[in-house]
């Protein structure tokens, strides 16, 4: 295999869910070349690309659809923080928001996506209160360890956290 393609393949293996632009910056390869090699890798079954929320991510071939989607979600710092509070035990949404010191609107925005992708489940306890629990805790823990985010993603996540706090209506 071509050396550049090997490098791209190795990078995707080490950073599953990486973006096109991150790949370009990290490996210092032009966009045209990356496009070409990614197509070859995909044709040979050595990489999978999938678009989530307007961004194309690249994964090693053995990642299943649920894992790919979850990994894309966990690149958002706050989504990772929310998931991390649920490893120990199911919690009430208010408890999670208080523990992370985030606005309810921030929590609900991330929960909408985490619930839709079956990472978190909402269920009612005996008292009829909504409880949040992880659908697949072991797999989610493994994916959370692999998830990394770019500087821009971290800034964006923190920007929305601050704005939601500013706008929070209580």
């Amino acid at each position: 295999m071509n050396e550049t393609r090997q490098r791209i393949r190795r990078y995707i293996r080490l950073h599953p869910g990486v973006h096109f632009s991150c790949l370009q910056r990290a490996l210092d390869i032009g966009p045209g070349q990356i496009q070409h090699h990614i197509e070859r890798l995909a044709n040979e079954g050595d990489a999978v690309s999938e678009e989530f929320y307007g961004q194309t991510h690249f994964y090693p071939p053995e990642y299943e659809p649920w894992e790919r989607r979850t990994l894309a979600l966990l690149r958002r710092e706050t989504a990772g923080d929310i998931v991390a509070t649920l490893f120990e035990k199911p919690r009430r949404p208010g408890e999670v928001a208080d523990q992370l010191d985030i606005a309810r609107s921030t929590l609900e925005w991330h929960l909408d996506r985490l619930v839709e992708s079956n990472v978190v489940q909402k269920e009612r306890n005996k008292q009829g209160q909504v409880m949040l629990r992880l659908a697949q805790p072991v797999e989610t823990a493994q994916l959370l360890r692999q998830a990394d985010s770019s500087l821009f993603e971290r800034l964006l996540d923190r920007f929305t956290r601050i704005v939601d706090r500013l706008l929070e209506s209580q």
């Binding site: 609900e108 925005w109 964006l156 929305t160 704005v163 500013l166 706008l167 929070e168 209506s169």
Partner: protein
């Protein structure tokens, strides 16, 4: 353009200050626009517009420094932009209290 109110050292430091303001407000506008695409709510539109006003203000300052915009209109315009920024932020905060947010009430 009349920069006689500035001392020489102030005059020399001004371009750097304007560039810092320009780059900083540019980063904020990119973040705000991306966040707006994600959230698609009215308060986010207003906050984005407030930051765009801040960016325009820095642009006008830089243009004025190199004489593309005359001094007096530039001052009036900048104060107008201040008023726009403040109004947009106040209405964003007001909207956050009044705009219904069904998902929050769900849980």
């Amino acid at each position: 353009m009349d920069f006689s109110i500035l001392s020489l050292s102030e005059f020399h430091v001004l371009p750097s200050v304007l560039v810092v303001a320009l780059v900083g407000s540019g980063v904020l506008v990119v973040l705000a626009v991306t966040a707006l695409f994600q959230r698609q709510s009215q308060p986010y539109i207003l906050i984005t517009l407030a930051l765009v006003a801040l960016l325009i203000r820095s642009f006008v300052g830089l243009f004025a420094l190199y004489g593309y915009v005359p001094a007096l209109p530039h001052h009036v315009f900048e104060h107008f932009m201040d008023a726009a920024t403040v109004s947009l932020l106040v209405s964003a905060i007001y909207q956050a209290r009044t705009a219904p947010n069904p998902s929050v009430n769900q849980a």
